[in-house]
C-alpha cells in the first residue's frame, strides 16, 4: 500500500468485521443452554474441600 487511493474500502471492511463479530458473539451467548451456564458458573465453588469461612 503506497497511496491513500482506494482507502474507502477500509472503513467498510472494518464495519463488516465489527458487525459480524458482535452478531456472532450475541448468537453464542443467547443460544448457550441454561444448565450449562449454571454448571460452568459454579466451577470456582466446587472446591470446598478446604477450610472455608476463614476470617
Amino acid at each position: 500500500m503506497e497511496t491513500i487511493a482506494g482507502i474507502e474500502i477500509y472503513p467498510l471492511i472494518s464495519l463488516v468485521i465489527f458487525f459480524s463479530f458482535f452478531v456472532a458473539l450475541f448468537y453464542w451467548v443467547v443460544t448457550a443452554k441454561k444448565e450449562y451456564i449454571t454448571k460452568v458458573s459454579n466451577l470456582p465453588l466446587d472446591n470446598n474441600n478446604q477450610n472455608d469461612s476463614i476470617l
Binding site: 491513500i4 453464542w28 450449562y36 460452568v40 477450610n51 476470617l55
Partner: protein
C-alpha cells in the same frame, strides 16, 4: 468413573505471594520517595542513581511488573489448578517462571537507577532483559496451556480465558514494542523512529494497562469474588460478552495517548472511537463483579476480603469511566501532560490492582496455612487507611491537573499568556503535591499493616504450606466436533487451543489495522528537507537525556494550540511540532507528563551558560524550580568510545550519516565541544572557577569540552532549530 488423585502446588503460590508483598513495599516506597522529591527536589542531592528521572521508571516497573506481576502469577497459579482440577503442567516451569521473574526484577532494580534505559514507558528495560522477559513469559504460557491440556475439567471457566488472552497479547505487545538494535551490552536503539515509535509504544503502553493490569485481574476477579462471597458470578452470559468485546476493542485504543500530537489524524480518531466504546465492556464487567455480591452484602460489612474487592471493583469502574472521557479530544486537551493523568492511573493502580491483590492475599494466606487471619481488626484498619490514602492521593491530583491546565491556557486581553513563566504553574500546585505525599504515606502505611498481619498469621500457623491432595475423574475422550446438544460457545470452551487462536485473532485485527498503515504508508509521515540528523555530539547528548530520564518530566511535543505555541516557541514562527521533525528520533522522546516545560523548541532560547548553571543548580537560574541538580553531568567525562558504533547503528535504522561523517565523528565532537567551552567562558564566574579547578587538578584533569554537560548542551541547543516557517512554506509549495 475412576478417580485420580493429585496434588495442587501450593508452594509456588506461596512464593509468588511473598514476592508480591516484598516488591509491593519496595515499589510503593520508591513512589513515596518520588512524591517527596516534588516537595524537596534535592532530597537525594548529587546521587545520580537516586535522581528523579532514574527512579521514576523504577517505580512504575516495580509496581506494574513486580507487585502486580507477582500477584497475577500467585492468583493464576492458585486458581488455574483448581479450575482445571490438575497440578500445574511442570514444576520446573513454575519455578523457572518464579525465579526468572524475580531475577529480572532485581536486574531492573540495578540497571534502571544506573541509567540503562530505552526510555520507552513501561518498557524501559534494555534488550537483554527484553529477551529474558520473553523467555520467562513463554515459560508461563507453556505451563498454563500445558495445564489446560491435561485438565480434568471439561469446560474452561471464564477466568481462564482472561489468563489465555493475557498470555497471548502481552507476548505480542512485548515482542513488537521491544524491537531494537543493540549497540552495546546494555544500550540499544528502537528500530522505529518518531511518530512510528510513538504509535507502537502507545499501542504497547495502553495495552500493557489492558492486558497486564486489567485482563489478568478480571480473571482473578471472576475467580476470587465468587469464592470469597461463596456464590456464582452474577451472569455468566455477561462474562462471555465481557471477555470477547473487551479484548476485541481494547487493542485499538492506544492512540488516545497521542491526541493532538504529530500522529496522523485518522489514527487519533480511531483511538478515540474505540476508547469510547470500551466503556461498555468495562462497565459490563464491573457490574458483573459487583452484582455477584447480590444477597451477600451483609458479608461485605464483616469480611475485609470482600471490602477490599468491592473497592477494587469500584475503582475499576471509576478508572474505566474516566478513561473514555480522557480519550475525548476536548477533555484530553485539558488533561494530557497534567497531573490528572497521574490521578487516573493511581485510581487504577491503588484501588483496582492494589486492593484486589490485598483482598486476594488476605483470602489466600489463611487458606494456604490452614489457619485464621491473625487480626481481622488490622485488616479492617488497612482497608480504611488504604481507602483514605487513595482519596487523598487522587483528589489533589485532579485539582492539580485542572489548575495547571487552566493556568497554561490563560491569556491576557492583549494576547499574551497570563502565566508566561511555567514555574508559576508549578508553585501553584505544590500544596496538592503535599496532600498527594500524605495520601501516599497513608496507603503505604496500610501496606505495612498488611505485612505485619501476614507475618503474624504465618508465624502463628501450626502447619507449613503443603501441596494439597485433590481428586477428580479423568476426562473421557469426546469427539472434537460439536455434539448435538452443544452450543457453539460450549464447544469452543472445551477446545482451548482453538479458543486461544480466536483470542489471538481478536487482538491482532486492531493492531494490524492501526500499526501497519503508519509503518508502510509514506505519505502519513511527511518529511521536511531541512530536518537533518543529529551531529555526533548531539547524539551523545541525546543519549545522556535518555539516561537521566528527562522524558519523565519534559515533553517534546508542542500540540497545535495557541497556548502551547505561544509558550514554547519563542521565535516569531510559532510552530507546533510536526511529524517530519522526528524522523531521526530513535527512540521518540515525546514524553507523557509536563512536570517541567516542553523542550521541543528549546534550542537557542537560552545561552550555553544558562544551561550549564541550570544543570548545576536549577534553583539558581529558576527560582522555585523543583528540578533536581544534575551536577554529575558537569564532572563526568563524556564516553566517546561508542560514538561511531552508535552512528553505524543509526545508519542501519535509516539515518543518512555518510561514511565520512562517521570517520570524522571524533574530530566533529571535539570541534563542537570546543565551541561550547568557548561560549561558556563568556561567563566570568565560570572562567574563574573553571581555571582555578584546572590549576588545582593534576594531569588527569578532564577539559570541559570533553565532559557530559557539553554534549547535553549541544543536544538541548539543537532541539527544534531545524525547521523555520520558510522551510515549511517551501515544503507546502512542493507538495
Amino acid at each position: 468413573m475412576e478417580m485420580q488423585q493429585f496434588y495442587y502446588d501450593n508452594k509456588i503460590v506461596k512464593k509468588f505471594i511473598y514476592a508480591t508483598i516484598l516488591w509491593g513495599v519496595v515499589g510503593m516506597l520508591v513512589g513515596l520517595l518520588l512524591a517527596f522529591m516534588f516537595l524537596f527536589p534535592n532530597l537525594t542531592d548529587g546521587i545520580s542513581w537516586l535522581s528523579f528521572g532514574r527512579l521514576r521508571p523504577l517505580h512504575t516497573n516495580a509496581v506494574i511488573f513486580a507487585f502486580v506481576g507477582n500477584a497475577i502469577f500467585a492468583g493464576v497459579y492458585y486458581s488455574s489448578q483448581r479450575l482445571l482440577k490438575a497440578r500445574m503442567f511442570s514444576d520446573f516451569l513454575s519455578n523457572f517462571n518464579f525465579w526468572g521473574w524475580q531475577l529480572i526484577i532485581v536486574g531492573a532494580a540495578l540497571t534502571l537507577p544506573l541509567g540503562f534505559t530505552t526510555s520507552k514507558e513501561y518498557a524501559e528495560l534494555e534488550w537483554p532483559f527484553d529477551i529474558a522477559i520473553a523467555l520467562v513469559w513463554v515459560a508461563f504460557g507453556w505451563n498454563l496451556i500445558g495445564t489446560i491440556l491435561k485438565r480434568r475439567q471439561r469446560h474452561l471457566y471464564v477466568a481462564l480465558w482472561f489468563y489465555i488472552a493475557t498470555f497471548v497479547t502481552v507476548a505480542v505487545l512485548h515482542i513488537f514494542n521491544s524491537l531494537e538494535l543493540p549497540v552495546a551490552a546494555l544500550k540499544s536503539y528502537s528500530v522505529y523512529a518518531g511518530v512510528q515509535d510513538a504509535l507502537v509504544q502507545w499501542w504497547y503502553g495502553h495495552n500493557a494497562v489492558a492486558f497486564f493490569l486489567t485482563t489478568p485481574f478480571l480473571g482473578l476477579m471472576y475467580y476470587f469474588v465468587p469464592k470469597a462471597a461463596n456464590r456464582p458470578v452474577y451472569s455468566y452470559r455477561l462474562s462471555i460478552v465481557h471477555f470477547w468485546s473487551l479484548i476485541f476493542i481494547y487493542i485499538w485504543a492506544g492512540p488516545h495517548h497521542l491526541l493532538y500530537s504529530a500522529l496522523p489524524e485518522w489514527a487519533q480518531h480511531l483511538g478515540v472511537a474505540f476508547s469510547v466504546m470500551l466503556i461498555a465492556p468495562s462497565w459490563g464487567g464491573m457490574i458483573n463483579g459487583l452484582l455477584t455480591l447480590r444477597g451477600a452484602w451483609d458479608k461485605v460489612r464483616t469480611d475485609p476480603v470482600l471490602k477490599f474487592m468491592v473497592v477494587a471493583i469500584t475503582g475499576y469502574g471509576m478508572a474505566t469511566f474516566e478513561g473514555p472521557m480522557l480519550s475525548l479530544k476536548n477533555v484530553n486537551a485539558i488533561a494530557h501532560f497534567t497531573d490528572w493523568v497521574i490521578a487516573h492511573v493511581h485510581v487504577g493502580a491503588l484501588a483496582w490492582n492494589g486492593f484486589l491483590a490485598f483482598g486476594m492475599i488476605y483470602y489466600l494466606i489463611p487458606k494456604l496455612f490452614k489457619t485464621r487471619l491473625f487480626s481481622v481488626g488490622l485488616a479492617n484498619l488497612h482497608f480504611w487507611i488504604g481507602t483514605l490514602g487513595i482519596v487523598l492521593y487522587a483528589l489533589p491530583m485532579y485539582v492539580a491537573g485542572f489548575t495547571q491546565a487552566s493556568m497554561w491556557k490563560q491569556f491576557n486581553p492583549d494576547g499574551t499568556l497570563v502565566y508566561g513563566n511555567f514555574l508559576e504553574t508549578v508553585s501553584e500546585i505544590i500544596p496538592m503535591y503535599w496532600m498527594r505525599a500524605i495520601g501516599g504515606t497513608l496507603y503505604i502505611t496500610g501496606m505495612l499493616v498488611l505485612v505485619y498481619n501476614i507475618v503474624m498469621t504465618i508465624s502463628r500457623a501450626d502447619s507449613k504450606v503443603e501441596d494439597e491432595l485433590a481428586e477428580a475423574p479423568a476426562l473421557s475422550r469426546v469427539t472434537g466436533k460439536r455434539t448435538a446438544s452443544e452450543g457453539w460457545h460450549t464447544w469452543l470452551e472445551r477446545k482451548p487451543v482453538l479458543l486461544t487462536i480466536y483470542a489471538t485473532i481478536a487482538i491482532l485485527i486492531g493492531g494490524i489495522v492501526q500499526i501497519i498503515p503508519t509503518l508502510v504508508v509514506e505519505s502519513n509521515i511527511p518529511t521536511i528537507s531541512s530536518v537533518k540528523p543529529y551531529t555526533p555530539l548531539e547524539l551523545e547528548g541525546r543519549d545522556i537525556y535518555i539516561r537521566e530520564g528527562c522524558v519523565g518530566c519534559h515533553s517534546q511535543m508542542i500540540r497545535p494550540f495557541r497556548s502551547e505555541v505561544e509558550r514554547y516557541d519563542l521565535t516569531n514562527d510559532k510552530q507546533y511540532s510536526k511529524a517530519g521533525e522526528y524522523v531521526y528520533d530513535h527512540p521518540f522522546l515525546w514524553g507523557s507528563k509536563r512536570t517541567g516545560p516542553d523542550l521541543h523548541r528549546l534550542g537557542g532560547k537560552y545561552s550555553d551558560n544558562w544551561h550549564f548553571n541550570h544543570m548545576y543548580d536549577p534553583q539558581s537560574t529558576s527560582s522555585g524550580s523543583i528540578m533536581p541538580s544534575y551536577r554529575w553531568l558537569i564532572r563526568n567525562e563524556l564516553d566517546k568510545s561508542m560514538t561511531e558504533k552508535k552512528m553505524e547503528a543509526m545508519v542501519t535504522l535509516g539515518v543518512p550519516y555518510t561514511d565520512e561523517e562517521i570517520a570524522n565523528a571524533q574530530s566533529s565532537m571535539l570541534a563542537q565541544g570546543t565551541q561550547i567551552e568557548k561560549n561558556l567562558y563568556s561567563d566570568p564566574d565560570f572562567a574563574t572557577s573553571y581555571e582555578a579547578d584546572k590549576a588545582a587538578s593534576g594531569a588527569d584533569f578532564v577539559e570541559m569540552k570533553n565532559r557530559e554537560i557539553v554534549a547535553l548542551i549541544a543536544y538541548l541547543q539543537r532541539l527544534g532549530t531545524d525547521i523555520k516557517k520558510s522551510d515549511l512554506d517551501n515544503q507546502t509549495a512542493q507538495n
